[in-house]
Symmetry: C4
Subunit: 245 residues, 4 copies
């Protein structure tokens, strides 16, 4: 019988590979998971490209983003994004930070991301915009200090996703499946909004439609069907993470 | 000698995989087939992503979308789309409901989909537009009640394809090959219309050209050549459905 | 020692597969070759999608597009495109007719295709535009009569490529390598011109540059390097045609 | 223990394959490396498409682009690009010349390439523009004479990348990893800038952000993570160069 922590490490490696395989993550970006038994810790890979992550790469951090796992591991420079959001948002159990090619045009132009169809509504009622320049002036465009992470967490507020000006996006979820579902379907919504911009004025969902569609999409059935779909696609590509032995 | 129902189940699994492999269906959407021996029933997979469907997933439904197949199966939430169209259109033997990335920009902007070339003309003389808001106000952007399915069927009317505002499209066919051909080539026509929009004003086929090209394209030869092409591509990718044993 | 006709049939199957693999041909379209020993005949596959063609599919036709090969074979409906051009242009030894996704936006809008870079200049100094409506009114958007083929050949005139309104393109070459090179690199030039249209006014090659670059590109070295590249890519994908035994 | 020159030849073959696999190089374009033991020489493949290059294809040249390696090898027509830049820029140890589909729209329209995000800032503070017409009038759009190579090197000046009007780009690096990183991430920045142009006015990095982000991105950690990522992707695709035996 597998240990819950081992299961969590495997699930996290799998989630990273799924989100990379579906084109949201590339060589950079990362997904974390709150520790299944200790809400004051979170799990995150050592610094490695998401599609390469193995369960043995998963490290344990305090919410102050201090590395707990013993050994000579190099963490991601931006791990504070995860720690500061877990601190501010007890309801959040998984976080994905990425720089998807469909989301970045919104981060660059400031165009508002809006729910274009039912699945896109999982972005939530509002997607706030965070610009590191507002509080920190010129930076190397990475979130590496606790103060920067906390500022981003404040911008996220009670929402499910935050766009980061000239940088990327961070999405959260109540479960790892939800964070993955939200990362992939908001990426696809952005792709749609981009393509529709060629044709004319988009007509997004009404507030009522978006609320109802979001609740409908985050039920067990569609999330389960999508998870089976993404996992099978990953397996067919020969990209599943190695089992923990 | 295979039973006609087994052949139908295999063909339906194959059709789902072809349309997914050609990029029209993704994790969601579905294709159905009228029962080969009983016009008051239709065949549709249990709730599963199209590229994963096996013949053993295919269930039988009444035209009121009651599940006939015994067992503990979870149907798609939107099966009423199929039942209500089969009720209203005795000439229809196959239906594909999808949310293709090329069609959705038209559903979002309301831009009119028009035949751009010979193969695109299989959309038919007119592609009506259905907006769930008109009759049902705010919904979770899915078609789950018989009344919604019947409304969509009325919007489809005698046509071959209906666009669903902020949702996707539903295409029908006199055979499963025709529904597949129409789903794929209208998707490709949409892609072309999108790309052409970057360059200038499109000059669509004339009414006469569209009628003649539609009749020409739906002959046995081009449909057969396309079916061989798509099946071979699927087989080369190692994605054929398992045989019924 | 292989027979020259067998070599020609193999080369023609290979050319069809290369141009399909590089994204110019899809389920439709075709490449032909003038008979190596008899200038009054040409070689063209039976009606089959290009990426599936085998040397044994290659048939022999007169320049009036009468099938010479004995047997029960179904030719392409549009074989007259090839026959009529071979009749009108003794210098032409290979022809590719296609409906590429990058060329079609030009055929739909009438936007002028221009040489954007050195390789794109192989389109030649001018790419004429043929509209079937001018002489034939409403048609099913296919070129199936000798009169239509002859009209297209007149529009092509002494040029290397002709765009067909709402239909596609036909490119010719002095060798099969040249026709393949021209089909692929004009497709890529079209792709570039489309993408550049998003950014602003394109600055095409000057007439002098285009002439010099066309001559430079059609030398043995770049054509040979490209042929090795495309063949190796096809082989790595496991898509080479079967050998003649 | 491998000889440093053998290691350099292997690394250069690998770099060519990586940059091709990531979509920057296609059938044309090339990467060179300054000789590890002799700063007056450089290494460059014989004329071959980048994704096919093997260590045994790597030739040695003087900075005047005379072939030093004995044997009957055909060099690239544009090797002077490399020689003249190595002459002018003692700090440069690797050079990539390419015609990427994302960069070319900038070369065609003259639109200014700007850093859109942290990784894109590796283009440097300024990307100069070189137009062969200015000094050489009509050419076949290739850089084949020492005078042309020297003119391009002057346009590059102290910068890291130069756009070549209606032709492509040349990027340099202090190491081969840096040249590869810059070639790939400036290509991706161009892709982003193109896509953002559909949505509205882009807001590039400030000068301060770009400087800090460039320095941050070119550290060992992100470059190493990217190198592992690209190499693993190449290996998974079965595309690694053969070992030197």
């Amino acid at each position: 019988m597998p240990h819950p922590l081992d299961e969590a490490r495997y699930a996290l490696a799998l989630a990273n590979r799924i989100v990379a395989h579906e084109g949201v993550l590339d060589g950079f970006g990362h997904i974390s998971l709150r520790h299944p038994a200790n809400a004051d810790r979170y799990l995150l890979s050592r610094s490695r490209s998401p599609e390469l992550i193995e369960p043995s790469d998963i490290l344990e951090f305090s919410l102050d983003s201090k590395l707990i796992t013993a050994g000579d591991f190099l963490p991601y420079g931006e791990c504070v994004i995860h720690g500061e959001i877990y601190k501010a948002r007890p309801d959040v159990r998984a976080i994905c930070h990425h720089h998807s090619s469909a989301i970045l045009p919104f981060c660059i132009t400031g165009a508002e991301l809006k729910p274009m169809n039912g699945l896109g509504s999982v972005m939530g009622a509002k997607v706030p915009f965070w610009d590191s320049r507002d509080e920190f002036g010129d930076t190397p465009m990475v979130v590496t200090t606790p103060a920067q992470g906390a500022s981003l967490a404040r911008a996220l507020g009670p929402h499910s996703m935050v766009l980061m000006r000239r940088h990327g996006a961070t999405v959260v979820g109540a479960t790892i499946q939800e964070a993955v579902f939200r990362a992939i379907h908001t990426h696809r919504n952005a792709e749609l909004q981009l393509r529709a911009a060629t044709l004319g004025e988009a007509s997004p969902l009404s507030t009522g439609e978006a609320e109802m569609a979001c609740a409908y999409s985050l039920r067990e059935r569609p999330m389960g069907r999508a998870w089976e779909y993404w996992t099978t696609r990953l397996a067919k590509a020969g990209e599943m993470p190695p089992k923990i032995v």
